[in-house]
């Protein structure tokens, strides 16, 4: 079964607006990571948040983690057309921190210029 569920599946916004994507998962995790994928190419690592962290920032990105609700959100502020991509969350949910990731289904973001 899929560990991560993301919503919305698709999001369309205007340049300059903020975009929020959510990810829910089912089991305890070591950490949660967010990735960006442009047009079916490789994954770009955006940010990692550990299970004992609640919020992290990186540039225009803000990630929150609520382990009690088993959910995370990715906020992109002041979006740009170049942010158009698919965004995936991935959890490292295996004991021993093995590095095996389970991915959510992804959110497709379109930023209109």
């Amino acid at each position: 079964s899929q560990q991560g569920e993301e919503d919305p599946q698709a999001l369309s916004i205007q340049e300059g607006e903020n975009a929020t994507m959510n990810c829910s998962y089912k089991t305890s995790i070591n950490n949660l990571q967010w990735y960006r994928q442009n047009s079916g190419r490789g994954l770009v690592h955006l940010i990692l948040i550990r299970s004992n962290e609640r919020e992290k920032h990186s540039g225009r990105l803000r990630v929150t983690l609520d382990t009690s609700k088993k959910s995370s959100s990715l906020l992109i502020t002041a979006s740009r057309a170049a942010d158009t991509a698919s965004y995936f969350c991935a959890t490292d949910a295996f004991s021993g921190n093995t590095g095996k990731l389970i991915f959510g289904q992804g959110t497709t973001l379109q930023v209109k210029p």
């Binding site: 990571q33 990735y35 994954l43 940010i47 990692l48 490292d92 095996k100 990731l101």
Partner: protein, 112 residues
């Protein structure tokens, strides 16, 4: 972060043939991972490539179909054997680096 390269970046293959994908990491890593992304889908872990031992496969993936080599700590190959159109996917290798798990650019495989 780890820098990961893959070859080939894409290929179109005939059914029944095999393709070997190469993955190179710019630093020594204990574990490397191979993922598959079917069209319009998310990523699914195929196997973990361990240096010095056989790969560990996830449920639904078998060694005969996806043999993996791991000759050293910076390199791995994944072979997609006896291909069918259902194998058309992006195949990505991955390894851990400081700050997270990183991915190669992927190999886009189309089987006709």
């Amino acid at each position: 972060s780890a820098v990961i390269s893959q070859k080939p970046s894409r290929d179109i293959c005939q059914r029944g043939t095999s393709l070997t994908i190469q993955c190179q990491v710019d630093s020594q890593v204990t574990m490397m991972f191979w993922y598959r992304q079917q069209p319009g889908q998310s990523l699914t872990l195929i196997a973990t490539a361990n240096q010095g031992s056989e790969a560990t496969y996830e449920s639904g993936f078998v060694i005969d179909k996806f043999p993996i080599s791991r000759p050293n700590l910076t390199f791995s190959t994944l072979t997609v054997s006896n291909m069918s159109p259902e194998d058309s996917s992006i195949y990505l290798c991955s390894s851990r680096g400081s700050g997270g798990q990183y991915f190669g650019p992927g190999t886009r495989l189309t089987v006709t």
